[in-house]
């Protein structure tokens, strides 16, 4: 007993001693030393660049000339950003979430890249590509100056490993599709011939030869060292977008096989992009430095990106105000005061984002089994009022599913659900929409909304969703006199209670969801989400054959204009005539950016490519008092 008492006492004393000694010790000036070391590295790096440039293709040299040479900075140009959460993985085959993809997008480059400004597909690792007549074969010509690099934590230097070849792309694609990798997003690559068969196979029960045969049957092959050919299962005009995705990136076979699951740690991981992973303190921070050997390195001004992982929005905002972050998402409730503040309002930036917020109706559940009732509910949502007073992020009222930046979108087209749009956007405005809604309710045989009984509106547990749900419930009550029970459930429970196979008496009438683009094509929206034969069919669409036919036709067509027209018809069917769901708004990214940020990306379909940001480094140094 006494021994225990003494140990406790000793521990306490130890802590106290630590506390006391801390006050006496000044902080060692580590920062400066680090700076010196890194500057030295950079000099060395430049030398090496010169050596490698000699080997490179001539086209690149031209590009180099265009760029203004950066004067030697006193310190590294550092970008401070918030990731929000820990990236669950940095393995491109396994990533599913935006955080992982943001980090991967900086350090890896796929065959194509989605331009953060235009959201169009531009060359990445592939300089160009050819499409066969029937649209079934894509041949990508790879750059020959892209190298695998890795960071050496012992010396603090970036080291070139070897060039990235077509074989790495083939390996990456097959690795994603291999069921032993167990990739969540493998299904994206099912469009490649043989992909679905490989991913569905029970490889554990097969002999090695059978497994190898399946792997070989996948429609991706290296024609030579720098040419890779994909053979598709169906024609897919959007395939170059798919080729930009992380699951189709080249991957270094030797490291993955040598290090196993730990290959993604700094020091092990080989990457081929603009940045190199140097530090990954889990749940805390992550650091990437510039890859001096990258072919586009001269365009990259940022030397270091320091990410923190701050989940709480108000804390991140406070860090931004304190100068710890260069940009941050603006907290919803601060937007009003930011807009009113002469200084902060200059830093506010609102950009459209490729996402849509919507309320799904269960189309088979009475009384929502009547399209007029559903349309009345949809029209009775005051989208503009909601945006101005609740969400406050200058979101756009949505009358269709896909937002404007998606190929084939009909967003804002008053032919479709004009009652969802305010007058200045060509719609009817809310007052008119309310009259229409009351009329539809009467057409459906209800003189008053209370005759519908209680409508259950369910959302997943979140403060933001709760606000919107309560606001919309109040609108339905005020305008149509409908009783609404608002419920919420924990995320995964929620997803399970709105599944298609949940019995009708358990499923809620209305549920909320959102959708964000994987790639900028309507196929990813109308077809993959709502086509009962493709997606989860949470709406339980009725008489949907017409819709399915539209989607199939649009998917197979190679004429862009025809596809656009078909998708518009699809939007009209879904959002207006059948009102199978209620689009509410198109998302925006509402962010604050420090004045010294000259260029930034926001609301991108692909990864945000943070390394393309440009800073006025002198201004940042001056503002933060850095040396």
């Amino acid at each position: 007993m006494f021994r225990n008492k003494w140990t406790i006492l000793i521990v306490i004393l130890l802590f106290a001693a630590i506390g006391l000694s801390a006050c006496a010790q000044p902080t060692p000036e580590v920062v400066e030393k680090v700076v010196e070391v890194t500057v030295v590295t950079e000099k060395e790096v430049e030398k090496v660049v010169e050596q490698t440039v000699v080997v490179e293709v001539e086209k690149e040299v031209e590009k180099v000339v265009e760029v203004t040479p950066t004067p030697e900075p006193a310190t590294m140009v550092t970008l401070n950003l918030n990731l929000g959460t820990e990236p669950p993985t940095l393995d491109p085959s396994l990533a599913t979430d935006t955080t992982s993809i943001e980090v991967i997008g900086n350090q890896m480059v796929g065959l194509t890249v989605i331009d953060p400004d235009t959201n169009e597909v531009v060359p990445g690792l592939a300089e160009s590509w050819d499409i066969s007549e029937d649209g079934m074969e894509y041949t990508f010509h790879l750059r020959q100056d892209n190298n695998w690099v890795k960071y050496n934590p012992g010396t603090g230097e970036v080291e070139v490993q070897r060039p990235v070849t077509a074989q790495d792309v083939v390996y990456g694609v097959k690795r994603t599709l291999d069921p032993r990798t167990a990739s969540d997003y493998a299904y994206v690559l099912y469009i490649i011939k043989g992909g679905e068969e490989l991913n569905n196979a029970d490889i554990g029960a097969m002999s090695d030869e059978e497994a190898q045969a399946l792997l070989d049957a996948v429609g991706v092959e290296a024609l030579d060292e720098y040419t890779v050919k994909f053979t598709l299962a169906d024609p897919a005009p959007y395939f170059p977008s798919i080729a930009s995705m992380w699951v189709a990136m080249p991957m270094p076979q030797e490291v993955i096989e040598a290090k196993g699951e730990r290959w993604q740690e700094p020091g092990f991981i080989w990457t081929n992009g603009a940045m190199v992973l140097t530090k990954w303190a889990h749940d805390d921070s992550l650091q990437q430095i510039k890859n001096p050997y990258w072919w586009g390195a001269d365009d990259v001004q940022i030397d270091v990106i320091d990410y923190v992982m701050v989940t709480e929005a108000s804390t991140a905002y406070a860090m931004y105000l304190a100068g710890d972050l260069d940009a941050v998402g603006a907290p919803q409730d601060e937007i009003d005061s930011i807009k009113a503040d002469p200084v902060l309002s200059q830093e506010l930036m609102i950009a459209p984002s490729p996402c849509t917020y919507y309320y799904g109706f269960v189309n088979t559940k009475a009384p929502l089994d009547n399209a007029d009732v559903r349309r009345a509910l949809s029209a009775a949502i005051d989208r503009k009022g909601l945006i101005d007073n609740v969400t406050k992020g200058n979101q756009l009222p949505a009358n269709t599913f896909a937002p404007a930046m998606i190929f084939g979108s009909a967003a804002g087209d008053p032919d479709i659900a004009p009652w969802a749009l305010p007058e200045d956007m060509g719609g009817t405005g809310y007052d008119k929409a309310v009259e229409l809604a009351k009329g539809w309710l009467q057409d459906a045989g209800y003189a008053d909304g209370s005759e519908l009984g209680t409508i259950t509106l369910m959302h997943n547990t979140s403060e933001g969703h709760a606000r919107i749900a309560q606001a919309i419930a109040a609108m339905w009550k005020d305008v149509l006199n409908i009783d609404v029970a608002v419920e919420n459930q924990e995320w995964k429970v929620y997803l399970n209670s709105i599944k298609k196979d949940v019995p009708l008496e358990e499923v809620p009438h209305v549920f909320r969801l959102g959708w964000c683009a994987d790639y900028a094509d309507q196929n990813n929206w109308l077809n993959e989400v709502f086509n009962p034969e493709m997606g989860a069919d949470r709406l339980r669409l009725q008489d949907a054959q017409e819709y399915i036919d539209l989607m199939d036709k649009a998917r197979a067509s190679t004429d862009p204009e025809e596809r656009k027209a078909l998708y518009k018809e699809g939007e009209k069917w879904l959002s207006d005539t059948h009102a199978a769901y209620a689009p509410i708004y198109y998302y925006t990214t509402v962010s604050m950016t420090k004045p010294w940020v000259i260029y930034r990306t926001a609301g991108t379909v692909g990864p945000p490519l943070d390394y393309t940001w440009k800073l006025d480094w002198d201004a940042k140094k001056a503002a933060l008092g850095l040396q």
Partner: protein, 355 residues
């Protein structure tokens, strides 16, 4: 004494086994699995099947539990797919489903030391403020000192950390600029050892991380979260001390001691305080266990990479091994804390025998 500890450790085995078993069963009873959705997309059944096969989730439950407990070599003989688990009994808590490539052991080794540092400092603050103020309030029973101590304590418990945290950040970090806004700045005291692990890209072992280097930066970062957490703890401690001391102060032997002419303070400290600490120590036990293994709200608001978030997020992610690992860790902490409490009883009041 030694016999008591040994017996309690033996008793802890069935308790922890029961905790493991029930948590294992409960967490699988909630709807939703770790891999049925990516974001809000339902994954194709084939993809889910691949994932479940990789993590052996399609095996019968008894086999999963068996291999969680005593390892793959015993329960899954002949299966060489993927990484072989050694089982909890050998200290292998398995892979995380969510953070692919990390094990539960890695997660705990990284996050627990940080929660431990925060919790330890907050407990020291809580006890350091709580007990003296409790004693003071009891000695000045029903005077303005007592009432204002009560008022402060009530403020301490009824102002939620969700409110206090942002207010502290706003006032002390933004307005006055005294402290950094958030994050944690602990470097291991034995940084030489840590550097070796970093250079080799290895997981730094827990014992290296647990003692922080006492830099000014460390204490500046720790100040606000420790204050926020410590005040709430000290409020409860102060009120319990006061109430309990008031009760003991009236007992016969205190009167005897006083009538013998000893000075009042000596009486209180020597006799009453020691005797009055039994309820205080009782609540300190679970408090210790809870605070040292991580506090969700404080860690969230101050962006501290501790273990608290894993207790909560793992359930949302249906990351079964992390749920089990954190629960088991907390179970161990509770068992140890309550054992120490019972030992302390015997020290505080010799009439209580350790049986």
């Amino acid at each position: 004494m030694l016999q008591f500890i040994v017996r309690r450790i033996l008793w802890a085995i069935p308790v922890l086994l029961a905790v493991t078993f029930f948590t294992f069963a409960l967490v699988r009873a909630i709807p939703g699995g770790p891999f049925d959705f990516a974001g809000d997309r339902s994954l194709p059944p084939s993809v889910v099947a691949n994932l479940e096969a990789k993590y052996h989730l399609s095996d019968p439950l008894w086999q999963q539990f068996c291999s969680y407990l005593i390892g793959d070599t015993v329960c899954r003989p002949g299966d060489d797919s993927g990484r072989a688990s050694k089982g909890v009994l050998l200290g292998d808590l398995g892979p995380s489903f969510r953070y692919r490539g990390r094990t539960v052991n890695d997660i705990i080794a990284t996050a627990l030391p940080i929660s431990f540092q925060l919790g330890m400092m907050a407990m020291m603050l809580g006890i350091g403020i709580g007990i003296p103020f409790g004693v003071l309030a009891a000695l000045k029973h029903n005077t303005w000192i007592d009432y204002s101590a009560t008022l402060v304590a009530i403020l301490g418990v009824s102002v939620s950390n969700v409110v206090l945290g942002p207010v502290l950040i706003w006032f002390f970090a933004l307005k006055l600029g005294w402290f950094p806004v958030a994050t944690w700045a602990a470097e291991p005291l034995f940084s030489g050892i840590a550097d070796k692990y970093i250079a080799a890209s290895e997981q730094i072992p827990m014992w290296v991380n647990i003692i922080p280097k006492p830099t000014v930066d460390f204490f500046m970062h720790a100040a606000l979260p420790v204050f926020a957490l410590g005040t709430a703890l000290s409020a409860t401690i102060a009120r319990m001390t006061r109430g309990s001391l008031l009760q003991v102060i009236r007992e016969d032997y205190i009167r005897t001691a006083r009538s013998k002419g000893l000075r009042e303070r000596a009486v209180v400290v020597r006799h009453a305080l020691k005797n009055s600490l039994i309820p205080v120590v009782t609540i300190l036990g679970p408090m210790f266990a809870g605070v040292l293994t991580g506090t969700f709200v404080i860690e969230l608001i101050f962006a501290i990479p501790g273990l608290g978030r894993h207790f909560v997020n793992s359930i949302g992610n249906r990351d079964y091994p992390v749920v089990l690992g954190t629960t088991l860790l907390y179970g161990v902490a509770i068992v140890i804390a309550n054992m120490l409490v019972d030992i302390t009883y015997a020290w505080l009041d010799p009439r209580v025998r350790l049986e």
